[in-house]
Amino acid sequence: MNSAPGIAFQILQSVFVVLAAPLLTGWVNQCRAWLQNRSAPSILLPYFTLAKLFHKDAVFARDASPIFRWTPYILFGCMWLAAGIVPVLATGLPFAPAADIIALVGVFALARMFSALAAMDIGTSFGGLGARREMLIGFLAEPAMLMTLFTAAFISGSTQLTTIVDTLGHREFALYPSLAFAAVAFLMVLLAENARIPIDNPTTHLELTMVHEALILEYSARHLALIEWAVAIKLFAYMTIGIALFAPWGIAEAGDWSALPYAFAALAGKLALAGAGLALIETLLAKLRLFLAPEFLSTAFLLAVLGMLTHFLVQG
């Protein structure tokens, strides 16, 4: 497993995810514009935005502490790490055993904690508001996410994503009712964790409703660019986790170069569908009031629990 091709695959995948993530964001934005009868921006717009931000002068609040300075890098590092764990293109990556699904959730929690701390660093009222709301959504989403992942873990008898994907990908086609529940729950968690409608609106700066944007209000230029990039990678990572759990067909094994083009094509197709689906959801739904978020996420949690119970019943 720790062979040279394995490591080459690992590096290839990590770099690929980091570079391709803004493309997915661009695709979602484009689909959403089409669905809303607007003229769509270029699919490359997120790259242009990042380039623009990287060229600007950074503006810092006077009292910013090291936490504020380092958080963008830590966020980016966490998401990059996540991109290395999730089997995006191939299973059996050499780095994968270092962190299983629980550690993956831990990585996202680490990133969330730092972004909330950085938001409170300057001492503006928006920062505190954003941090509070972000942590509210976080503590509701995390158990639901873990229960979803546990359902998959029970089916495959492992918390390693690689093993899960191997088990689910190479089985005979069978309908797991438990996975259906889990998939819906996972979708709800994905929406909440990535600050999408109906929990948060990525395009608003309205103080009454914003969550994620309130967190990063004080950031500018390169720091903002890193955060935006990290957000794109996070969306990419969540989507690929979903694909790995619920539609793992076509993934390559580490070191198997011949399967790679097919894996690329399968991934691109699945992501294009998933991105369009996300745009559709965001167009059809309206944003929920903040205090309906607990209901939304506890529904996700209950669905995940139902999925797990169904698994036990079917296994009986």
Binding site: L129, F139, T159
Partner: protein, 672 residues
Amino acid sequence: MASSPLTGSLLVAVVWLVVAVAGLIPSGNAAFARRIAFPLGALAGLALAAFGLQAVWLPAQSMTLPLGLPDLPFHLRLDPLAGFFLMLLGSVSAGISAYSAGYFREEPSGRLALISLQYHVFLASMAFVVLADDAYMFMVAWETMALSSYFLVITDHRQPAIRSAGFLYLLIAHLGAIAILLCFGVLHGGRGDYTFDALRAAQLQPAWATVAFLLAFFGFGAKAGMIPLHAWLPEAHPAAPSPVSALMSGIMLKTAIYGMVRVIFDLIGNVRWEWGLVVLAVGAGTTLFGVLFALMQHDLKRLLAYHSVENIGIILLGLGMSMVFIGFGHPAAGVLGLIAALYHTLNHAVFKGLLFLGAGSILHSTGLRNLNDMGGLIRSMPATAFYFLIGALAISALPPLNGFVSEWLTFQTALQAPILQNGVVRSLLPLLAATLALAGALTAMCFVKVYGIAFLGQPREPAHPSPLPHSGDAGRMERFGMAWLAAGCFVLGLFPSSFLLILNRVGVSLTGQGLSEQALSGSGWLWLVPTAPEQASYSPVIFLVVIVAVTLLAFLLVRRFYHGRMRLADPWDCGYPEQTPRMQDTADAFGQPIRHVFGPIYRMDRRLPGPDDAAPRYVLKVEDRHWYWLYLPVARAAEFVSSKIALLQQGRISIYLLYSFITLIALLVFVR
């Protein structure tokens, strides 16, 4: 025998006692306690940790001391379980003692001598609790521990609130002690031999075994702070000086866990899975209760105390799962649960000790305990802020620090559920894992609140310019103590498999079974493998290296390709020129979403300012419902009963003579 770990540990305990008494002799010399007593105590702690570690790998040793009552000598025994707890006691207390050497620098010498006396007696008594091998010695050490810590809690006994906190602590400690005493009585079954060997050999009826289990669980639980016997914790911890809070929360609560494991797994034996369910139910309730109330606090030390309640709940979850698995006849999974619980015990001791020390430094520096008055401390206390951040990340169960490892192990235990035969229990365990996940995420929220409000942002109350003009960061010894525990967070987080092997020894010595061969062969220093490599593995070192590497890589890339121009400015005010520091979130504001979501759990009293108030203030009181349905009714009942009994007390000699007469007659009737 001279150099065996048991003799060594005994020697350490004696050194602590000598240090305690020696502090009294050069009275008026505070420098002795600061320069010699506490550092010596810290070194003794280190030695104890080494002996404990050594004992884990050796077969159990025992010894009889020629002390105690006639025909009732003290028995000592050091087995892997005791060795592990001695390691915990020694290593954590070393950091706290070093910190104390700096912390008590401004105490007047008379008081300092007393604190040093009680402090070291407290340490020695905890060592004896762990070493004791008969019920008699155990109870003596247990009571010494309760009393010495009681006197430490009421160090500032001139304040009535502190006296009543101490009283509550003493009361609940003794309720627990009575239950433990009764438990030993049940185990003993009237054979006249109170050594643990005899109690272990006793064959109990299942019903009596269950009674013994319940007595032990609630007796030790009262000391550990599980609900509904937790009420003393949030009162006593803030009342005590900070190093003492660290000692009580970090170590003393763990002696209760030790007692539970010792009595339930070792002395009673034959663990039943139904007992595990009781432990799990209480554990889950304690976990959620603790963290939800922690989120409501604005007194930093009370908040930390509620987190101790929560963490005891997490430990109980691990223990309960272990009991369920063992009860159903799956000792390998049971040992995993036990390892998870004991690992969390050690982790909690380290990070909670660290956090209490950090709270102590804040209190020392600024005189503040109320979070709502703090803000921006990272600028005046950068070292404390750094260590506190490590503690906060560790307690929030974030990788790659230590809190994550034990929660990960607990999750892995819960994921063993499919091997259970009972369908209901099988689906229950993952739900408890979800409870744990919820508690972990809530803890993260709580520590964002603590850290964001205390260390980040701007000072909140203009009346309390924090830090106070004369104050600065923590002193040298204080920083050393915190650095020691912070290093512990890293070591426990990064090299978990070495501790897994230690705990596996403990598990083998208690249940006769260990982890699977695959797990042990798969666990090098790099990899943590609880069951089998293809099922689950975690490598914190690789994790840390990669995360640091990619973060630095991102930094260097940005540095390389970016022009690096930067401007300092005021924070963006959204177009409103009037911004004051009081517009930041307070601790109470931060908890508001929780009050909204979990409203029915709290008993709330809110006072909103009216439209005409000249100085509008929003007052919110959040209270624990346990006081109203449990404690106050019990207190009223006790008062009622004692007022009736007080009728006997007439204060006239003739009446008392009459009582003696009636007693005599009654005795004659019976004895005849």
